[in-house]
């Protein structure tokens, strides 16, 4: 158990997950089409783009959270650990245990802080010292100092920023390999946001992180790689369909993007 904790430092171009020609649709409506991304191991990858471009949809596809949405369908392949996550024999529960998620709105369980952490670990068959795991997870999520005296109080008694870090701790406690974050700071104040970003810098030593953000400054601050999504109207269709414009090092996306639309978006000239 403890040995999986220390992952060997990997090379920057070591691929953790890769999306191959992924198209996701809700019913008959295509949300995002033909996405190719290689998410590198042990780094922070950010998805940016205007609302409705499908970046959250793509993120949720990475651990099959879209399965919970009726009518959601994926074409293409999502490769993780040499498996296509959408093969029929793959168990989505197992996928979500290895690829954790932090949501847009802090959503701790209405249980004690201790139980919030212990619940996930327990269902994953953790047999070790639970007190130690709770402390370690809360420390990693940089919320231990605020929580240590009230582990038996409800998780909902914490402030919004603390709740979100509790949710990060909860995700860490199941020992995933990848952590997905869907606009984790959009409901938080700047100070809490900063704390979560610092936490992410710590976390990427042990985990691969994928984050969706509307905040371009945040992408610059935390991400090594950035994918820019955009949406275009489809001929004859009523809605817009999202697509990947460009995926590259964050520095390049923000300073010397290959596409004009990326340039327009990151410099704020976007429509």
């Amino acid at each position: 158990m403890t040995s999986t904790q220390q992952k060997p430092k990997t090379y920057a171009n070591d691929v953790c997950m890769s999306l191959e020609n992924v198209t996701i649709s809700y019913g008959n409506f295509e949300a995002v089409r033909n996405v190719y991304i290689d998410i590198p191991h042990g780094q922070v990858t950010a998805f940016i783009g205007p609302s409705g471009c499908g970046k959250s949809t793509v993120l949720r596809a990475l651990n099959r959270m879209n399965d919970l949405i009726p009518g959601c369908h994926l074409k293409g392949r999502v490769i993780f650990d040499n498996y296509d996550l959408y093969e029929p024999h793959v168990d989505p529960v197992e996928v979500r245990r290895r690829i954790g998620m932090v949501f847009q709105k802090p959503n701790p369980f209405p249980k004690t802080i201790y139980e919030n952490i212990a619940f996930g670990a327990r269902i994953n068959g953790y047999r070790g010292d639970m007190d130690e795991l709770v402390e370690r997870s809360l420390r990693k999520a940089a919320v231990w100092d605020e929580c240590k005296d009230k582990l038996q109080e409800s998780g909902l008694a914490l402030s919004g920023g603390q709740q979100q870090r509790l949710c990060i701790a909860r995700a860490i406690a199941t020992e995933p390999e990848v952590i997905l974050m869907d606009e984790p700071c959009s409901a938080l104040d700047p100070i809490s946001t900063l704390k979560i970003e610092e936490t992410m810098h710590e976390l990427k030593r042990s985990y691969t992180i994928v984050i969706v953000t509307h905040n371009m400054q945040q992408a610059v601050r935390v991400a090594d790689m950035t994918a820019f999504f955009n949406a275009e109207a489809v001929e004859g269709g009523s809605g817009k369909v999202g697509y990947l414009v460009e995926f590259s090092e964050t520095e390049r996306i923000f300073n010397a993007p290959a596409q004009q639309s990326t340039q327009d978006y990151v410099s704020g000239r976007f429509g």
Binding site: P70, P108, F119
Partner: protein, 317 residues
């Protein structure tokens, strides 16, 4: 104070007296309407207690443990009816709660296609629309003959216990329990379904996001979050089961002899009231009132206990 609009621009707008009157009036009105419920309950309680006064004086607490119900000699004890009420309603709950909550889970948790789900939901609601006298008739002519072989089997296998030691011969406690199940199932299912639907999506996502299995998420998170509303529904249905008169009276056998056996004819307080009130006179009326008072107090106690349980076990989000 004379006002003109330019002066008032920077002050609070003065509310006209009529608007203020409507506001306070509405508040008083809702208060009055809400009090009506409490007053009604109190009024019913007092009326019944007043009517029961004579029987309480005559029979005292012995009324609760005596099984004599003898209008000729004016000796009354309600044990048969109290036992029948408790056993029939609690066993009906024991069967209907798992069935109803299970159905609710089945039709809310995305286990089957939406169209099938709404079809099942609709059927459950239609079940609630059947008048109880129709259910009673159905119980007499269809259900009871149909289940009698099963009851006879129970008697053969478990006849050595006091609960199955009589031969099933038509009306009895067991068919009454089953018809109660049919009557309370729609209430439990409909309320549980609404309660489960109201569990926030974020909470479900949280559970699934850390790798809960579907059953893990349902039993550890979703059900506990919905439990207080579900228990509310169960309490409503318990009230219905205890108070249900027509169908039960038609199938329970209305026996005045005490028997532990579920296969024997029995009685409930409500069935007894319905059967005897018409031709009762003198202290028998008072004894029936006493029985009704016992029914009210029983319901009240069960409700309070349930509220305490809910407070212990629910997840408040």
């Amino acid at each position: 104070m004379t006002t003109d609009s330019s002066n008032d621009a920077f002050t609070l707008r003065r509310r006209p007296p009529l608007e203020r009157f409507l506001d306070t009036g509405f508040r008083q009105l809702t208060l009055a309407l809400a009090s009506v419920v409490a007053l009604l309950l109190l009024g019913i309680f007092l009326t019944i207690a007043e009517g029961a006064h004579e029987a309480i004086g005559t029979f005292g607490a012995g009324f609760l443990v005596s099984s004599a119900w003898d209008p000729v000699n004016n000796q009354y004890g309600a044990l048969v009816a109290i036992y029948g009420t408790m056993v029939s309603s609690l066993l009906a709950l024991a069967i209907a709660v798992p069935l109803g909550v299970g159905t609710a889970i089945f039709i809310t948790e995305d286990l089957i296609p939406t169209r099938l789900r709404s079809a099942i939901g609709l059927m459950v609601e239609l079940l609630a629309a059947i008048p109880s006298v129709v259910l009673g008739l159905w119980a007499i002519f269809v259900m009871e003959p149909a289940i009698r072989p099963a009851l006879e089997l129970l008697h053969r296998l478990l006849g050595w216990t006091p609960f199955f030691d009589t031969i099933p011969q038509g009306p009895g406690m067991a068919p009454a329990i089953l018809i109660l199940v049919v009557m309370i199932l729609p209430i439990i299912t409909a309320i549980s379904r609404d309660a489960l639907n109201q569990v926030p999506l974020e909470l479900r996502q949280a559970a699934y996001g850390i790798g809960s299995t579907r059953w893990g998420a349902i039993f550890n998170i979703i059900l506990p979050a919905a439990i207080s509303a579900i228990v509310g529904g169960v309490m409503l249905s318990l009230g219905r089961a205890m108070g249900e008169t027509m169908a039960v009276t038609m199938i329970i056998g209305n026996s005045l002899n005490f028997s532990f056996s579920l296969l024997a004819p029995g009685n409930t307080i409500s069935a007894m009231l319905a059967n005897q009130f018409g031709e009762a006179s003198g202290i028998q009326v008072s004894a029936l009132m006493y029985a009704a008072l016992v029914l009210m107090v029983l319901t009240f106690i069960v409700n309070v206990l349930a509220q305490m349980l809910v407070r212990r076990f629910s997840l408040r989000y």
